[in-house]
């Protein structure tokens, strides 16, 4: 697990890919209670001007968070997490779905063991989150 002392501004969180399929949207709808039809009904999604069914923004946000929580080890070390949803994640009706590519970078050391991480998330090269930023608490290396 990374320690505060060993972590520098510019430390990269290795890029990862996550697939989001229609089944994932159904599962997230059930677990979250968000049954907005644009996340499962192609007919209605298109009728309100969307290209197809889109993922829950909160599923994208939760998936991107895994880059940070897996890196830091203890998910409860995440103290703040903010995103803006800049572009919908369109999920086609096929077996591959959408591929979300997430990367991160430490942009500031805040003292008291806290570091600020900027995340980027894209699908097919187009960013889907802006201003995605997390503050996490790292151990100081002395336990």
């Amino acid at each position: 697990m990374p320690t505060y002392d060993e972590t520098d501004v510019g430390t990269e969180l290795p890029e990862r890919e996550f697939s989001i399929t229609r089944l994932d949207l159904v599962r997230y709808a059930g677990a979250s209670g968000d049954f907005n039809v644009i996340h499962w009904n192609e007919r209605i999604a298109r009728s309100v001007g969307l290209p197809d069914v889109i993922a829950h923004g909160m599923l994208t946000m939760a998936t991107a968070a895994r880059l940070v929580t897996d890196w830091v080890g203890d998910p409860a070390a995440l103290e703040t997490y903010d995103v803006r949803f800049s572009r919908p994640v369109v999920v086609p009706d096929d077996d591959l779905g959408a591929t979300l590519v997430v990367s991160g970078r430490v942009v500031e050391k805040l003292g008291r063991g806290r570091v600020c991480i900027d995340l980027s998330a894209s699908v097919a090269g187009a960013g889907v989150l802006t201003g995605a930023r997390a503050i996490v608490r790292l151990s100081d290396g002395q336990g």
């Binding site: 939760a62 995103v83 803006r84």
Partner: protein
């Protein structure tokens, strides 16, 4: 039609205690594809010093609905859900949330303002446990094309 700005500042409290269960956490972790043992295995969580399995960082969005929709579905607010998309979301997590926790929440409409042709509705939800702050969620939803003067 623009959202009724007389509703800025209105707040709703959860009417019943919000009970966080192992099953809810397990289902949510599965839905986000995250097999972290701290979400699934109470022994692993206790070994790390937690009371029980830990909730993932964005888990509380699933129970923010205990208060938010009442505010937004009030016909007098004039919000058309088919025009709504999620604009922004933020979490400030003061304390770990674990299975067995019993929380209260209050959601308020913090602001409504124009952004070009759209309107932004900013909500703040405070979660507490026996009065102590647990988490603060900020949520901006976008009402597309409803700003005054937008056609």
């Amino acid at each position: 039609m623009p959202v009724n700005r007389a509703h800025i500042g209105r707040a709703v409290r959860s009417s019943t205690p919000i009970e966080i269960t192992r099953g809810d956490i397990r289902r949510f972790a599965a839905a986000i594809g995250d097999g972290n043992p701290l979400y699934l295995d109470a022994d692993a969580a206790r070994a790390k010093g937690y009371r029980d399995v830990l909730a993932p960082p964005t888990f509380l969005i699933t129970v923010a609905g205990s208060t938010g929709p009442g505010l937004l579905s009030d016909p007098a607010l004039g919000l058309n859900f088919s025009l709504v998309v999620h604009g922004q979301q933020g979490f400030t997590l003061h304390l770990p949330v674990c299975a067995g926790d019993v929380l209260e929440s209050e959601t308020r409409i913090d602001d409504v303002r124009d952004a070009g042709r759209n309107e932004l509705i900013c909500l703040i939800t405070e979660f507490t446990s026996a009065g102590s702050p647990v988490a603060t969620l900020t949520n901006t939803i976008v009402s597309r094309g409803t700003a005054a003067g937008a056609t």
